[in-house]
């Protein structure tokens, strides 16, 4: 590990109008090189119009064991979905 280049997470905007999406990671000495390497590693076939790079150790992630407390509450809230409500046919599209 002594002199290993840091790890960067790579996010690519696939086409204009879309969000950047995580595509993978790579090692690079700095952000500038990370972008250059990301261009070679992840956009060889027109996969992108924009690149974000983030040093991996700057990312905080939720823990798998928090899955219950984090996401279960929303399971019981069906009224948050439009399909919960019956709209009479006469009213038309809504």
């Amino acid at each position: 590990m002594k002199n290993e280049w840091p790890l960067w997470e790579i996010f690519i905007r696939g086409q204009h109008g879309m969000s950047h999406r995580h595509v993978g990671s790579l090692h690079a000495p700095d952000a500038e090189m990370a972008i250059k390497n990301a261009r070679d590693v992840y956009t060889r076939r027109n996969e992108g119009v924009s690149i974000w790079v983030v040093e991996a150790n700057n990312i905080s992630a939720s823990s798998p064991s928090d899955k219950g407390p984090l996401y279960e509450p929303s399971e019981s809230k069906v009224y948050r979905h439009p399909t919960f409500f019956d709209i009479p046919e006469e009213v038309g599209a809504m």
Binding site: N3, E4, W5, G24, D40, P64
Partner: protein, 325 residues
């Protein structure tokens, strides 16, 4: 395959957690880096993904050998793109392995000092241009057999790497078939070269799948964990069934006098490769083992000053930024 004879590691974990883990796998729920996983699963995957990554990297050498001697500028550009893809495939896979807690440098060092293997196929030389066609057609063709099912593997980062790789791999096989077809349809001397390439690469390609593992405990465990999706024999049969008609189309003869269609089985019967040769190559005695590792070691050593220099520059720049703030 690109990962051959990967031994599964015994697992010594809490039976309750193990059962929960297996239930997730059976339900096709992907395992992600921060999820709990058995030690054996982690270790086996590091070995398998690492070996796969090393194969992509070392696999650049036999083809890189012909970049400067490609017959046309177009073939040169195609081959260059293909070899660049192999580097990319290696990088996707190394990153997937790193999510399991091994560092890139450790993986590299284990390749360079021989503790980790790469596929036996890359220890065979590419003697002439026809071999480049044969490598794309047969070697990448064999690799695809294994890689396509691995897109569904249980480990998320590995699965995602395989999906990217498979998208690009089809180009590799098709450019190879296109190159060898040009020769097979060319002058008699060219056709002879194409046949000679098929003769030399046929059995080493069959060896890529590894020896029969229908009785192997390692394979049974790996298949239960869904890090191996098919037996070696299944994949080899599939490869033969797919490749024989392609050879016939080229007017080339598969170098196996016992090859014949078996109506009853609905598959081709074919001869097994010489497994003693396979074990010899794995042990380090193939035609190119020494050379391949020497080239990788030299590249690593010669690149040291570049890696160090860029890191030193990055640190200096960062220190400058901090001072300016």
């Amino acid at each position: 395959m690109y990962a051959q004879m990967v031994k599964s590691e015994a697992t010594n974990d809490d039976p309750e957690k193990l059962a929960e883990f297996q239930a997730k796998i059976d339900a096709d729920i992907k395992i992600e880096p921060k999820d709990w996983m058995p030690q054996g699963y982690r270790k086996t995957l590091i070995r398998q993904i690492g070996q796969h990554a090393h194969s992509e990297i070392v696999g650049q050498l036999p083809e890189g050998n012909w970049i400067t001697r490609a017959p046309t500028l177009e073939r040169k550009a195609i081959l260059l793109a293909k070899v660049q893809d192999e580097a990319g495939h290696g990088l996707y896979l190394y990153c997937a392995a790193e999510t399991l807690g091994v560092s890139r440098d450790e993986l590299t060092e284990m390749l360079l000092d021989g503790r980790m293997k790469y596929s036996s196929i890359f220890n065979y030389p590419t003697l002439n241009w026809a071999d480049i066609g044969a490598v794309g057609w047969l070697v990448d063709g064999a690799a695809i057999m294994n890689q396509v099912p691995l897109q569904r593997t249980s480990y998320g980062p590995y699965s995602r790497a395989m999906i990217r790789i498979c998208k690009e791999e089809s180009f590799h096989q098709r450019q190879g078939y296109d190159a060898i077809r040009k020769m097979a349809e060319g002058k008699p001397q060219q056709k002879k070269m194409a046949q000679d390439a098929l003769n030399r690469f046929w059995y080493p390609s069959l060896m890529m799948f590894g020896p029969s593992d229908k009785d192997s405990v390692h394979s049974t465990q790996s298949m239960a964990w869904k890090i191996k999706m098919n037996t070696n024999d299944e994949l080899r049969q599939k490869f033969v069934d797919q490749t024989v008609p392609q050879a016939e189309f080229l007017g080339l003869t598969v170098p196996d006098p016992d090859l014949k269609w078996n109506e009853e089985r609905g598959h081709y019967d074919f001869s097994e490769p010489d497994w003693s040769e396979f074990f010899d190559v794995i042990k380090g005695n193939g035609p190119c083992n020494t050379d391949r590792l020497a080239v990788r070691n030299k590249a690593w050593d010669d690149g040291q000053w570049v890696r160090d220099g860029l890191l030193a520059h990055a640190k200096k720049k960062r220190a400058g930024q901090v001072a300016a703030e």
